[in-house]
Symmetry: C2
Subunit: 464 residues, 2 copies
């Protein structure tokens, strides 16, 4: 290029409208009618043998407890490890849980979660994959075009290369719609991030029987059902640009950022890796590592037989939650504009103190014996909501490559002013979906649970 280069605009102003059009196309796409999805999906499941068995740690291939630390490690030194974490939280006012220790998954390499987009008949479609993961309750779920750890695509396990990866890693193969490093579960992962990408191409993409082009609206229809759209697909879709174009809000963007800065500043979180063998209150058995009260989760191991993966047999540790969680946005309209009540949450594995989570994110059973202020804020509002107030409810499982049967009930609950005030308690703020989308252009603002709920909103699965 020469000095008289033509510049472009900083923002693609046509994109929000194109996304909205795709979201409104819920009944059919270029590959199939939404009503025919189940048949296609059942066919995919039938074509893939896949069997997962619980095994004792001693039967893990290539994984073992490291001498001294007791950390659970792979002999290659890659993939991930299970270690211990000691978390101390200070700040004003004093936190409810100032200190704890727990096992944690350490996976420092950055994976790629990528969805390929293309227009068919003037409507954007997204290339989704029917993919098995050992921890999924139903094994097969709808996944991004590419879902690859760094170990995956650098061939640590000597498997096949990752299909379509080139569109995401080789610059210039398409137009980037979103590309951002986002955190994953801060209570289970230490500072894990994945690269969330949406890339649009104009060219023909070689088809494959496990992949299908769906509109945003079709994916939204599937997001209304339990355990169909996997976590990786949900987080990537949440990173799509705002499609509402809403420019009004209760708080200006700079006020929102200032509130967030104050939340980061008032929390002092020190998270220190410790040997797994030294984690207080947790005990290792032959089959699992458990909390002394059998709360939270257990670390266990599985053996996997498959023919649809890059390698056909492997074994690995998984983290299995003990009980189902509840994850909810409480929403309200102000001057007709929907707002979401977000919560600045501390999770021990976050890179930086707090991220914005849903209004409610907890495992209700652990609070059954508590009353009043000791209970999570807004939990009772969500659990006792009139069904007419619940505009979205579905059970989704979390990352099936690391978590076993990690199901959460996701809800969106419309509240009225008597239930939640305009000025909520400290740590909570009303923001618009458009504001959340703006924050999602950047990492470490919005946690993965909130991203699932935002994906439901963006795709038209939920109104708010």
């Amino acid at each position: 290029m020469s000095a008289d280069t033509t510049l472009g605009t900083r923002e693609d102003t046509a994109l929000p409208g194109r996304l909205a059009r795709s979201a409104s196309a819920a009944d059919e796409g270029t590959d199939l009618r939404t009503g025919d999805f189940d048949r296609w999906f059942a066919d995919r499941a039938a074509r893939h043998r896949f069997r997962v068995d619980r095994i004792p740690f001693a039967e893990l291939d290539d994984w073992s407890f490291e001498r001294g630390t007791g950390n659970l490690v792979h002999r290659s030194g890659r993939f991930f490890t299970v270690e211990g974490l000691h978390v101390r939280v200070g700040g004003t006012p004093a936190p409810q849980f100032p200190e704890w220790q727990q096992p944690i998954i350490v996976q420092q390499e950055v994976g790629v979660l990528g969805i390929l987009a293309r227009e068919f008949g003037g409507v954007l479609h997204f290339l989704m994959q029917a993919k098995m993961e050992p921890g999924n309750p139903n094994l097969l779920q709808l996944s991004p075009t590419v879902q690859a750890t760094h170990s995956n695509y650098t061939k640590v396990h000597r498997g096949a290369s990752v299909r379509y990866l080139d569109y995401f890693l080789r610059s210039g193969r398409g137009r980037v719609i979103a590309d951002v490093l986002q955190s994953e579960h801060g209570s289970w992962f230490l500072r894990k991030v994945n690269r969330n990408m949406i890339v649009e191409v104009d060219e023909d993409v070689p088809p494959h029987e496990d992949f299908v082009w769906l509109t945003l609206g079709q994916i939204g229809a599937l997001l209304r059902r339990d355990n169909v759209v996997n976590m990786d697909a949900r987080t990537v879709l949440a990173c799509a640009p705002d499609l509402t174009g809403e420019t009004d809000a209760l708080h200006s963007d700079v006020s929102l950022l200032s509130w967030f800065t104050a939340e980061r500043s008032r929390h002092d979180v020190r998270a220190q890796r410790i040997p797994l063998a030294e984690v207080a209150g947790w005990h290792r058995g032959e089959w699992s590592i458990n909390h002394e009260r059998d709360h939270y989760f257990q670390v266990m191991a599985v053996s996997v037989q498959a023919d649809s993966r890059e390698v056909s047999h492997w074994s690995q540790p998984l983290l299995e939650p003990i009980r189902q969680g509840v994850t909810a946005f409480v929403v309200r309209r102000f001057a007709g504009v929907p707002h979401i009540l977000v919560h600045a949450r501390v999770e021990g594995g976050f890179l930086d103190t707090v991220e914005l989570g849903p209004t409610v994110q907890c495992t209700p059973e652990y609070y059954d014996h508590l009353r009043g202020d000791a209970r999570p804020a807004f939990l009772d509002l969500v659990m006792d909501a009139d069904p007419a107030q619940v505009t979205y409810t579905a059970v989704h499982s979390e990352e099936g490559g690391r978590f076993l049967n990690a199901e959460n009930r996701y809800l969106i609950v419309q509240a009225d002013p008597s239930q939640v005030p305009t000025e909520p308690p400290p740590g909570y703020l009303w923001v618009t979906p458009a504001q959340l989308s703006s924050l999602l252009r950047h990492g470490h603002y919005v946690n993965v649970q909130a991203r699932t709920l935002l994906a439901a909103i963006n795709s038209g699965a939920a109104s708010c």
Copy 2:
């Protein structure tokens, strides 16, 4: 508020114009003409006795080398510590410096750097303070309204309370213009952030003899001179919103973010705290801790006598660079729009892999013996630039509360297409000042050296 609350717009569209008007008012402000600044400043210096002496470590009050680790610590356990850092950098292509150890300042608490803004005669002014810092080469520099560590304002040192702090910490006392946690020197601090704030008030602010209201343009005029405006003031001013309103760019915002995400992804930085006593290649003497080749910096100690500070005498360690650094933006116009060549830099103390630094940021002497690709990119272009190409040059010192005589020469150099191509080498990208300002609404994108140069641009000190 009730359900029929009136919403506001997410963006304050009047602000860029008001900032631009303040930047163009370079000759006089409500308190003084720019030409009278020196007299006012000299008067401030005369009113404050202030004396800094080098002392051996053994003469430090309340500071000592911790048994075992050798870390330099305060007896209260607060303020900061000097520890060791072991940095390993991986990635593709392989980095020039894959591994090193060094002393590092650890200061986990978040301080406040705040500038109060107010309109006088329709023009925004900023309340600046004449403040002594022991490490400033000329002791007194122009500082933000508030410059307080957490220890400061929670009274660890039992001194006076911090003047004007309430405007920044008590919500609702003014309108927030900027509020963001920004990193500081990643080669000298471990994951240090400060809260950078600009707050505008409409009310009368009680005057104080050490404080003066200046326009952005007046501050810009002072930024053209050596060592007048301190680092804390520079970083806060860099966080002001973009005042150009430029919406065109060589790369769209999403392309810029995607490039940045790729830069973060391709670098693997592991920085581990180690005991100061174990840092390889560094040696502790009675007066200082030095690198074996006497490169980089030394850790040393000073005794301070003052009557203008919250306490009137103290002693503390400081980090003293061995040589002056060079920090430069190389700029070019594309289709008439100025662009800055930024560099995604690894610094061991960054919270997250890389941040965007200036085109050149190094200490030239350490590269004198190297030729070709082993030399920092664009260093020769900057050092050999025709004076007609240099639109900004000034020496500024870094944070005088932690660094002694830490001077860098800051430059902006206009390049022509033959010197720097439109498609620069990996790790470099052309961005507009408006794009940099957008990134600066968020933390951990733009390093503190680049922020000094951006402050010079925003305030009209430099054209680009």
